[in-house]
């Protein structure tokens, strides 16, 4: 379940800089899942521009910032503040489509498959007074791609060969290979534009600087490690002036404390667990907004370890679990069962494919047919993940009802991920995958291709071949056909049980209006107001 509890620093999420293949998606599909802003289009209280920004909003973070330096971050936790401080060439709308002129690039033009020319916005200043221009863009990407900087974001951008200055407000991006999602990638964490002079002056101290300037609507005024990050409205912001004066991001590690802070009014925006929603219900001041996200959670069944190396055993497990009951009870209904590791947000999602049916009799029969003498399963769970433990206990009971013996083995959070990647976990491994590229390739390649790091034990030559094929296919319709084929092949091998698309439960105090809660978790405060 680590997709649900946003704890791990790596959030494995392949945050992939929230790539997103927005353009390839049908927006009607998104309409069904896209989050709605907290307030109905109620008129914001902005009047005549006379009043400056006012008020303060507090947002809970679950763990400390990895860094203030955008290229040093990868956890989604950072997205909650970062977008408000830094500017990117590309801005995506709430449906994850790139908006021309929404970011620091006014427009872009594809010269050929490998060259894109960007027209830059003029008159933009960094918080420290430096000018934003072509040099800043070239510098920022050189810095990102420089291996010496060891950016965890770098690998998302390796298709970029270089950025060149054409004139002060024009740059050309040259690719060394085709990357169909490179434009949205520029809206990701690694694409933040930094002020060259400032960074150079700071030198080696830059990584520990606490006043890194960006071009966003808010600037950093104070950062106290493991405690808080305070942002203040930047009066020189090029876009519409923000209405809230101060944003305080507080790091609160304990779930129960976060809820208490939210109930006490100490925190205005918080991500809740399903079990906590009931405590908020009935409150006059607080609201909960379930937001569909592309993250899919499920139980990986390790195909390299007995008895889950037997496909009938895996099938028996899949049919023995009553996913809908788990969702209705422990997850309080805030999830949707999925057939394979793809959400409806994803390019390659096949709506025809149905989740494995709950059928204990079939499960018993499959287990008997498997011929496995000792149907003992070891189910891993992270020690401090309360929801995952509840699910584990419930699922274990369902499996035992059809004849399995289940042991639940608790793991420490940090070692869990390494053990997973090393393939040293056991039969049943709870896992979450962000799928933030919104494209099946990222998920399938990492999780099913033989020998990939997020694939502990699954191997199928046919799937490998198809995945290779779609990677070199530029025709999107053809790619979709191949991915549908892969869906089916994977589905028939039962590599994962109890898949569901997660929902984030944002708790928002009603005094905060018009807060954007996009599916990529990157809260956007520039248009929000507070009373």
């Amino acid at each position: 379940m680590f997709g649900k509890s946003r704890f791990s620093r790596r959030d494995f999420l392949k945050t992939t800089a929230a790539l997103g293949l927005g353009g390839a998606m049908s927006s009607s599909l998104l309409a069904a899942c896209a989050p709605a802003g907290p307030a109905p289009a109620g008129a914001p209280a902005a009047e005549g521009g006379a009043a400056g920004p006012s008020g303060s909003v507090t947002i809970a973070l679950h763990f400390d910032l990895q860094s203030l330096d955008p290229i040093k971050t990868f956890a989604l936790n950072n997205g909650r503040w970062q977008k408000n401080v830094f500017g990117y060439l590309i801005k995506r709308d709430e449906e994850m489509n790139p908006v021309p002129g929404g970011g620091l690039a006014l427009s872009w033009e594809q010269e050929d498959d490998l060259n894109v020319v960007f027209k830059l916005r003029e008159g933009v200043k960094f918080h420290n007074g430096e000018d934003f221009n072509a040099d800043a863009v070239v510098y920022s990407f050189e810095r990102l791609l420089d291996e010496a900087n060891a950016s965890p974001q770098r690998f998302n951008y390796t298709a970029i060969d270089r950025f060149e200055k054409v004139d002060d407000y024009t740059v050309r991006m040259t690719l060394n290979e085709v990357d169909p999602v490179i434009i949205t990638k520029l809206a990701g964490y690694g694409g933040a534009i930094v002020p060259p002079q400032f960074v150079e002056e700071q030198g080696a101290d830059y990584v520990s600087a606490t006043d890194i300037p960006g071009t966003g609507p808010y600037q950093i005024v104070e950062y106290r490690k493991d405690d808080s990050l305070t942002l203040e409205a930047f009066d020189g912001y090029w876009g519409e002036a923000p209405k809230i004066k101060t944003l305080v991001y507080r790091i609160i590690p304990d779930e129960a404390t976060r809820l208490a802070e939210f109930l006490a009014g100490g925190v205005d925006v918080v991500q809740l667990q399903p079990s906590q929603v009931a405590a908020v219900e009935g409150s006059e001041d607080l609201e909960v907004f379930p937001t569909g996200v592309p993250t899919v959670n499920g139980l990986r069944l390790d195909a390299s370890k007995p008895p889950t190396d037997n496909v009938k055993v895996r099938a028996a497990i899949c049919h023995a679990i009553d996913t809908q009951t788990v969702i209705d009870t422990i997850l309080q209904g805030y999830a949707v069962p999925m057939a394979v590791w793809q959400s409806p947000y994803s390019f390659g999602y096949d709506p025809e494919l149905q989740p494995y049916a709950y059928d204990p009799d079939l499960a018993k029969q499959l287990l008997a047919e498997s011929g496995v003498a000792d149907p003992t399963l070891v189910y891993n769970v992270i020690g401090d993940d309360a929801t995952a433990k509840e699910i584990a206990n419930t699922v274990a009971a369902m499996l035992e009802a059809v004849g399995f013996t289940v042991t639940i083995a608790q793991k420490e959070r940090a070692t869990y991920f390494d053990d997973y990647r090393a393939g040293t976990l056991d039969n049943i491994v709870p896992f979450g995958w962000g799928g933030w590229t919104l494209d099946a390739d990222n998920t399938y390649y990492s999780m099913y291709y033989t020998g990939e790091s997020y694939n502990p034990g699954f191997s199928d030559p046919e799937i490998d071949a198809l995945l290779d094929e779609q990677r070199s296919t530029l025709d999107q319709e053809r790619r979709k056909e191949i991915l549908f084929q892969v869906n089916k092949l994977i589905y028939d091998q039962y590599p994962d049980a109890m898949l569901y698309q997660a929902q984030y439960l944002w708790g928002v105090n009603k005094r905060v209006k018009d807060l954007a809660l996009p599916a990529d978790e990157r809260l956007w405060f520039a248009s929000a107001s507070v009373s």
């Binding site: 790596r10 400390d64 990584v207 802070e261 100490g266 940090a414 070692t415 390494d418 790091s453």
Partner: protein, 306 residues
């Protein structure tokens, strides 16, 4: 006295070396930080080797340890893998918050324990005494995070008298200090009660009373002073427990102390920070215990150190 101090100092150095060795080895058993640092970049083997070299992790562990020790003596504990800043600086930055919490908890405990312990001893056998004993036992019997959550719900959420969590002025300190200090308060109350009773029955107190000294004089001059010895011992011993308990309380109250730093650092395998924190905490504990021993001689002239 000086011999004693020199011997203690010598022992302390030995203990610190032992602790540094233990933390150095165990932290390396938790796993490889390099894979963790580079995991999101699909790193090549060369990348891994390069990173290992940069972090001084490519040499055999004994060599690493000697290098570490040589630098640590000069106050250089290496740079945090996570923040890229000096590890010692990170720990020192957090230490005041933890010490503040720990000392506040101790003060809460002492402030509660002294009046209660004295009242209880003086009114031995009365319902009041029974009540005090019960309350102090309840203080000992409640897991501190449970007490913390109950305090949060009552005073933070329902009454809204105090902030739920975070750091800042005195009002942020009240609930965590009570949650952390309640067990010590209970222990101290019981201890004071029994050592007061002990002293009150001693001959010289009886003599003092017989000589016509007032009850209050006897209490403060003689009884309390002598009862301080075991209290000091316990305070010294419990200081380590408080620091440990602070790890939990810091999490409950989102208090930015060393406890949280070191817990996350163990998880992230930030070796330098774990090493620096453990060694620094040990230095503080050793110092506190030495101070306690020295205080004995002040409180009770009969005690000599050798």
């Amino acid at each position: 006295m000086w011999n004693y101090l020199i011997q203690r100092l010598f022992y302390s150095i030995f203990v610190l070396i032992g602790i540094s060795l233990i933390v150095f080895i165990t932290v390396r058993l938790t796993g490889d930080p390099v894979a963790m640092l580079l995991q999101d970049g699909n790193p090549s083997q060369e990348d891994l080797d390069e990173m290992r070299r940069l972090l001084d992790l490519d040499k055999p562990v004994p060599v690493q340890y000697v290098n570490f020790l040589a630098k640590a003596v000069t106050g250089d504990f290496g740079r945090s893998f996570r923040y890229s800043t000096p590890a010692l600086g990170l720990v020192l930055e957090r230490m005041p918050a933890t010490l503040k919490l720990t000392l506040a908890a101790m003060s809460v405990a002492v402030l509660i324990a002294f009046p209660l312990g004295i009242i209880s001893a003086v009114s031995r056998g009365s319902p009041l005494d029974f009540g005090v004993r019960l309350v102090s036992l309840i203080g000992i019997s409640m897991p501190n995070f449970w007490l913390g959550i109950i305090l949060i719900i009552i005073f933070g959420v329902n009454l809204r008298w105090l902030p739920v969590s975070g750091s800042g002025g005195l009002k942020y300190l009240i609930m965590p200090a009570i949650a952390l200090g309640s067990a010590l308060a209970g222990t101290l109350t019981r201890l004071l009660r029994s050592s007061m009773l002990d002293v009150l029955s001693d001959d010289y107190i009886r003599t003092a009373r017989a000589k016509g000294l007032s009850g209050r004089m006897v209490l403060t001059r003689h009884a309390l002073r002598n009862a301080l010895i075991p209290v000091l011992t316990i305070l010294g011993l419990q200081f380590g427990l408080l620091l440990g308990g602070a790890v939990i309380i810091e999490n409950v109250f989102a208090w930015p102390g060393v406890g949280r730093l070191v817990v996350t650092s163990i998880g992230l395998r930030d070796y330098p920070v774990v090493q620096a924190s453990v060694i620094l905490l040990a230095v503080i504990l050793l110092t506190v215990n030495l101070l306690v021993d020295l205080l004995y001689t002040v409180v009770d002239p009969r005690v000599t150190l050798d």
